[in-house]
């Protein structure tokens, strides 16, 4: 596979080192304090920004999409393929990795990078998101979250300290603070209020427990549900600790809330967060959401969507998605997307993929390659448009393809807030 990405790197900054590199103690954060990250904004247009996020293992370009490698691998793709697809950072799930094989074992192997032979940047979540997704197995108290292990039924307690200990062992470039996640469609305001304050208290505990601040970055997560007041409280509390924070995450979204609330929360947070730190919107992976969030000034996204949907035969295309298992795909000799330069679109027809998806692992791998490529191409285009000061035009063209009959109200409103008129 030969895929683009090199040109852009020449354009925007120093070429990343090829070998795995140890944490660079010389990295300086915006405030001049030693930390494991450097964030340089290369270009701005409106609220959107294109930046270099220099991490111990890689100089990532943002806005950036981070494929999810739950168990230390991205669905059948080799590290070499991921590099060729222009992935800069892969996410690992703390909860899953602690269950199997266990952080101690990963540490024995020299950390997650060495274990999975991924030499670019990594991020691990706190394990807290599984509070929402596996709530029936969890019980949340001030001390932490007690889980019932789905693999062996054993009860395990995840406290902020424990989460830090695990993530320090995994050794990713970015770690997430344990937050008190409440499903965004939970009706109880008291629960959200409790979670907002608790998230800050837990962040303080994470900060004190974090043992490798020189080579791992700890991001706190802004909580507060869909409530403007609670979000403001969360933002204020966390930003009081700004000198110890290399970057911020916006959490509690992508949990089934309505789109209007979703963009509003992103809007409030990105408007309030410091300009010189990266902003990560958690769990976002639909191309439209990514374009909207980038317009609002967010920098990082992660989602299982592109790879999960690929395994079910859904391919991402500029106009939305196509379902490869559908009968109409049989005999269709076009590639998934005629404008796509990915290795799969160069080789395979929809008809061939139609016969592979759902029955053959090979099909799942091929569609995953296409979807990851699609996401990385989208991110490249966003970054280039910002650098070339053509971002509003790009957004208009993108939305016109996605919504030929006109974009939905929430997109129009969100982009208006981002100073882009459709």
């Amino acid at each position: 596979m030969g895929v683009a990405g090199e040109d852009e790197q020449k354009m925007v900054g120093p070429s990343p080192s090829k070998k795995m590199r140890r944490a660079d103690p010389g990295l300086r954060g915006a405030n001049g304090k030693a930390c494991a990250l450097e964030f340089n904004i290369l270009a701005r247009q409106g609220r959107a920004r294109a930046s270099v996020l220099r991490l111990p293992h890689y100089d990532c370009r943002t806005p950036m999409f981070m494929p999810v490698g739950t168990n230390g691998s991205v669905k059948g793709l080799t590290p070499q393929q991921l590099r060729e697809l222009d992935c800069h950072l892969v996410l690992g799930n703390t909860y899953h990795l602690e269950n199997r094989p266990g952080a101690d074992i990963v540490q024995e192997f020299g950390g997650l990078h060495e274990f999975s032979k991924w030499d670019r940047a990594m991020l691990t979540d706190s394990g807290g998101f599984q509070m929402v997704s596996l709530l029936h197995l969890a019980d949340i108290t001030e001390e932490g979250v007690s889980f019932q292990s789905p693999t062996n039924g054993q009860s395990m307690m995840l406290t902020p300290e424990h989460s830090m200990r695990i993530q320090n062992k995994l050794g990713a470039d970015i770690m997430m603070a344990l937050d008190d996640v409440v499903s965004s469609v939970n009706p109880s305001r008291e629960r959200f209020e409790e979670a907002t304050y608790r998230t800050t208290r837990w962040f303080d505990r994470c900060l004190s427990a974090h043992e490798r601040p020189g080579d791992q970055n700890l991001f706190p997560i802004v909580q507060g549900g869909l409530d403007r007041e609670l979000r403001a409280i969360s933002l204020r509390q966390l930003m009081e600790r700004d000198d110890r924070i290399p970057g911020y995450a916006i959490g509690g979204l992508a949990g089934g809330e309505d789109k209007e609330s979703f963009w509003n929360v992103v809007d409030w947070c990105t408007a309030a967060l410091p300009e010189d730190k990266p902003r990560y919107v958690m769990g976002i992976g639909y191309p439209v959401d990514i374009v909207v969030c980038s317009a609002l000034g967010a920098d990082m996204y992660d989602c299982v969507y592109p790879t999960r949907t690929a395994r079910f035969g859904t391919a991402l295309v500029p106009s939305g998605t196509i379902r490869l298992p559908q009968a109409v795909m049989e005999g269709d000799d076009r590639p998934i997307d005629e404008t796509c330069g990915c290795p799969v679109c160069k080789k395979y027809t929809r008809s061939m993929l139609h016969r592979l998806v759902g029955t053959d692992s090979h099909g799942a791998i091929l569609v995953s390659i296409h979807n990851v490529y699609y996401m990385q191409r989208l991110m490249r285009e966003i970054r280039e448009a910002i650098v070339q000061q053509k971002f509003p035009e790009y957004v208009r063209r993108f939305m016109a393809q996605q919504y030929p009959e006109g974009a939905p109200g929430w997109v129009v409103n969100a982009l208006k807030a981002a100073e882009i008129d459709l």
Binding site: M1, T70, N71, G72, S73, V74, K75, G76, L77, T78, P79, Q80, Q81, H96, R100, P101, I105, E108, F109, F115, S116, K117, E330, D333, P343, K346, K347, Y348, T349, M352, R355, L356, T359, D360, S361, H362, A364, I365, L366, I369
Partner: protein
């Protein structure tokens, strides 16, 4: 059936050629070379990568290209059934459909029997002229004409004539009829290829001979197949009907007696050998091309080949590891070593550890199979390379003997 390209172009293509290089003095083993007009060459003996729908189980073609020594693929026609009929019906050839690049083509051999999962005659009521085939879209009755039409469209380099493989438990009468049907299909194939409109002009026909337990019958069939050898479309022979639960002696006897009757200068293929030992045995009998089904089988059950593939003794340091590593085993949880130290495959060269692959298997992550298929395919190719070198050096019998000793001992 549309002719896929202009006749003039096709007639300039020629059938694959087999040339014999060296014959072992103490056994039937031999080395040779297959060349095609497309530029694919393969040194024999070698193992075919067994595919599903024309593709390796887990390796994308860019990954397969990273495996040194892969020379050809077995493509099973039964994987290409649509709801109504076999495809490709129009449009591209098989190579185009599976995305094989012309620059470095692998040899494509096509047959109806699936080497990885027996699929013929499981439902007998297909009628006299047809053979019942188990496919993804149900049981299909396939005629000689259906199959030839597929071949014409698919344009493989080599194609097996239809063989009526039946498991040994069938009645004597049924087995006799299988012989007759296989022979009749062969005669018909030779006729089709002979009076070809050009579309079959670059496909090499491999004449199927059905092996049985009856030595006399084997000889008879081999002789009658051999009588067709003068036809230029026949580039080789296939010993079919094996790998269906027959005894070791029976298989060896059949291979020996049939290969003994076949002309030396033609290619020989067999389906069935399923371990490195059986592979060596078939090569001793004079087989040139085999299905490497054991690569798929081991990969699918989380095993990595670790038997000695090089000339110099055991490949795995430390004894007691056995011939294959079962990566599911808990013993690998903490193992930071690569599958086989010194192995040149993508997996071992990039340092993926046994512990990591064990972890991936436990999590049902597809990358486990990808990494294992890299290793196993590479290991099989390396093993075949060693066999070729030993034949060329004239010491194959000694190698086979010591390999057998070591293999059985372990």
């Amino acid at each position: 059936m549309a002719v896929p390209a202009e006749k003039a172009v096709i007639s300039s293509r020629r059938r694959p050629q087999f040339s014999l290089c060296k014959e072992d003095s103490k056994s039937g083993a031999r080395t040779g070379c297959i060349t095609t007009w497309r530029g694919a060459t393969a040194e024999t003996p070698f193992g075919l990568v067994v595919t599903r729908k024309g593709l390796p189980s887990y390796l994308t073609l860019d990954n397969l290209g990273k495996v040194n020594g892969v020379q050809g693929m077995h493509v099973c026609a039964s994987h290409f059934f649509g709801r109504d009929a076999l495809y490709p019906r129009e449009g591209g050839s098989l190579s185009e459909i599976i995305g094989q690049e012309d620059a470095s083509p692998l040899l494509v051999l096509c047959g109806l029997r699936d080497p990885a999962c027996y699929n013929l005659n499981l439902y007998p009521a297909a009628g006299r002229e047809k053979i019942s085939v188990d496919t993804e879209v149900g049981v299909k009755a396939v005629s000689q004409q259906d199959y030839i039409d597929f071949v014409r469209q698919a344009q493989p380099d080599l194609c097996l004539s239809l063989s009526d493989d039946v498991v040994g438990s069938h009645s004597k009468r049924r087995r006799e009829r299988a012989q007759q049907r296989t022979a009749a299909w062969l005669r018909d194939s030779v006729k089709c290829f002979g009076e070809s409109d050009g579309a079959l002009g670059s496909v090499g026909l491999i004449a199927s001979v059905l092996a049985t337990e009856d030595g006399e019958e084997n000889l008879r069939q081999a002789r009658s197949a051999e009588a067709l050898a003068s036809d230029p479309s026949v580039v080789g022979y296939a010993v079919m009907g094996l790998g269906l639960g027959e005894s070791e002696e029976c298989r060896k006897g059949a291979l020996q007696s049939i290969c003994g009757e076949l002309p030396r200068e033609k290619l020989r293929y067999t389906s069935g050998p399923n371990t490195p030992l059986e592979l060596i045995e078939a090569i001793e009998c004079g087989v040139d091309v085999l299905d490497a089904t054991f690569v798929n089988e081991l990969t699918a059950c989380g095993m990595a080949m670790a038997f000695p593939a090089d000339a110099e003794g055991p490949a795995v340091s430390g004894t007691g590891r056995g011939l294959n590593l079962n990566l599911w085993s808990e013993e690998f949880t903490h193992d930071q070593g690569v599958l086989v130290p010194g192995c040149g495959c993508y997996t071992c060269q990039n340092g993926f550890s046994r512990g990591y692959i064990h972890h991936l298997l436990q999590c049902r992550e597809l990358l486990a199979e990808v990494l294992l298929e890299f290793h196993n395919t590479h290991h099989m190719c390396r093993f075949m390379g060693t066999i070729r070198a030993k034949i060329d050096e004239g010491v194959f019998s000694e190698y086979a003997k010591s390999f057998r000793k070591l293999y059985i001992h372990q």
